[in-house]
Symmetry: none
Subunit: 376 residues, 2 copies
DNA sequence: TTTCGTAGTGAATCCTGCT
DNA sequence: AAGCAGGATTCACTACGAA
């Protein structure tokens, strides 16, 4: 075969699938920027990246019960400055852009520590943001000291190479997955724990392993079977395991031998998804929780309104924050109800009543009204 | 009055409240950067900003039924380039930083079009991000073309002026508002519609009016009554209306006469909540501190009494000076508890128990009894 | 077999006032 | 300014052993 014919053949293969030189279904144990430099231009269908977050944690943190929080203290998450993190981010993103096909897309996950730097760099490099996606954690770690809001989500950015890019989006799959409603930009999943969490000698192998359900949705939404997915921060290979299950090719990059070893073993054991596993991906959603404060915030009950129990033995006033107060005592609808009755607990929703058309109605009726008004 | 006395008086007022020169409860009809230049350094308790999103929309959009989507096409949302938007963002944020008190905080709301640029600038200017907050829209506009995920949220950034800043966070209020669970970083509210949406001649006055419930939570969480809240992109004055309701001062800035007019009328009609409703749950530390020794001094616990933890693993004896001793070790209720458990710290009030009617009760109960008996 | 209580843990920028 | 000491602070889920 002559050179020309080889080129033609190679060209034909590039159009339909990844070039033969791509190290398909392989982990490159290298620095991510170096490894990407070795990959050809415009050869990857999708990049999923979970880069270091640059958390900048302070001292130790203990739970109220005194136990110690196992924080992310790994060297790979340390940077000398914000500027150094910015530089690193722009370097790996530039390589990612080079090796991405013109109609490919990139996903990056992060938290408020780094996602604004990442998003800003993505825009500066010419990417076109398609969505930002919120991963709502069903079970986040609380804020133990009561100093901020519970940090209960992470953010993903989904971007194409440019405004005119013809990217893959499996709209029907997403709608089916979401019970025939359009898939929204906020996704709820539990954090990775239990059987899914990789352990070695009783300890987690990687401090930030992502749930497979998250990757499952990303890959199902934005790749086709046979596509090549690159993960430049492969870790324990969640991307590879899910890609294999969904019939996509994958390429992983990671420097750490411990992670590479665990990932190889894990991916070798990964099997195509069966029906029962697919069911667990679509866990039935519980009825949404409504806090009494929401009714106050949304004007269903004005602060200053007087509530009473059904026998009108106690009268209490609604506070601006959804608290109730009565004779100098104050608390939530449940706490105050319990205190006044001298009971260990109390369902404030059924205990407290408001006046409506001359009669007393339990505030639970307002909750139902609110639910009907706000839920589709 | 001499100059010195004037300065002293002015100084005293600065410490306790905003300087007299602040245009409290006023709308400045000016460019936001110009207007902020006219305000004094370190004079504002909180800034809430809803800047232009730089949406960069393409052509017209119609719903599947053919009706037309009324998009944000106003001049104030147009910028020549991403760089121009970046420059504008850094300029107004720099002014905001200058006029903000050292312990003040800033909130900025945005979408994926601009929030990464905003967040990146916030970090570069030295602000310290405390949380990013997700406003989950209960009723977002669908993606009519089926080309992306439904854009169902917006992002807010909450930041202090620096890492060491002692910002206001009404933890208890937030917990009460959320039915005795820590408030999370994802908030659900309906979009602003119905009666709340300001209209003129049947058309909405402002294309991006925010729901009052959103501002209500922000102001309740991070300001105190009497604080000064500045909104440099005032629009139709949601921030002012909610601030007035909650007994906070406000300053608004907007160039557009139509918005200013609507905002003035709206705020004039807003009713402040009365004192009782405003009494938000205060942190226990607002209550006077009680030293363990006071309980001993006042006969609530006799020296020589034996205390134990709830599992009765340790037994310690109360000293005449309010110390505790156990197996030759002695110290405060907190120190000894920490030492015995090998923990870095310990809340002695909840750790140590005394015997009461055959059961164990935490000594914190005695403190409550003491407080009730001694406080008016 | 089911239920219940205890223990453990997760990408966390996690205290405040006084000397 | 740094150090010390008082004392305030957690939600959802998993695993496991006991009843």
């Amino acid at each position: 075969m002559g050179v020309l014919e080889k080129v033609k053949r190679a060209g034909a293969r590039v159009a339909k699938q990844a070039p033969a030189v791509l190290p398909l279904d392989t982990i490159l144990r290298q620095d991510c920027i170096e490894a990407m430099r070795g990959l050809p231009d415009k050869s990857i269908d999708m990049i999923f990246a979970d880069p270091p977050y640059n958390l900048q944690l302070g001292g130790d943190l203990n739970r109220p019960d005194g136990s110690h929080v196992d924080a992310v203290t790994d060297e790979w998450d340390k940077f000398d400055s914000l500027a150094a993190y910015d530089k690193f981010t722009r370097e790996w993103l530039a390589q990612a852009r080079r090796i991405l096909k013109d109609d490919g897309t990139i996903w990056v996950i992060g938290s408020y520590h780094n996602i604004f730097k990442v998003g800003s760099a993505i825009q500066d490099l010419g990417f076109w943001i398609l969505n930002d996606i919120i991963w709502r954690k069903a079970n986040p770690m609380p804020n133990f000291k009561g100093t901020r809001f519970t940090n209960a989500h992470e953010t993903l950015i989904w971007a194409s190479k440019g405004e005119k890019s013809r990217y893959t989006f499996n709209y029907r799959s997403m709608k089916t997955l979401n019970d025939e409603l359009q898939m929204r930009s906020d996704w709820e999943f539990p954090i990775c724990s239990g059987q899914e969490r990789l352990k070695k000698n009783g300890h987690k192998v990687h401090p930030t392993q992502k749930p497979e359900a998250l990757l499952y949705r990303v890959l199902l939404a934005c790749t086709k079977p046979g596509d090549v997915v690159l993960d430049p921060f492969f870790g324990t290979g969640t991307t590879g395991a899910v890609a294999k299950r969904l019939g996509r090719h994958w390429i992983g990059i990671d420097r750490e031998g411990v992670y590479v070893e665990a990932a190889l073993e894990r991916i070798a054991a990964a099997l195509p998804l069966d029906e029962s596993a697919l069911q667990t991906m679509q866990a039935p959603k519980a009825a949404p929780r409504v806090a009494f404060g929401q009714l106050v915030e949304n004007g269903y009950l004005a602060p200053g309104t007087v509530l009473s129990d059904h026998k009108a033995r106690w009268r209490a006033t609604v506070g601006a924050d959804g608290s109730l107060s009565c004779d100098g005592q104050a608390g939530s609808i449940h706490k105050l109800g319990a205190t006044l009755q001298g009971a260990p607990s109390c369902n404030g929703w059924t205990f407290w009543h408001y006046e409506d058309q001359g009669g007393l109605k339990p505030i639970d009726a307002l909750r139902q009204t609110y639910l009907l008004a706000t839920q589709p």
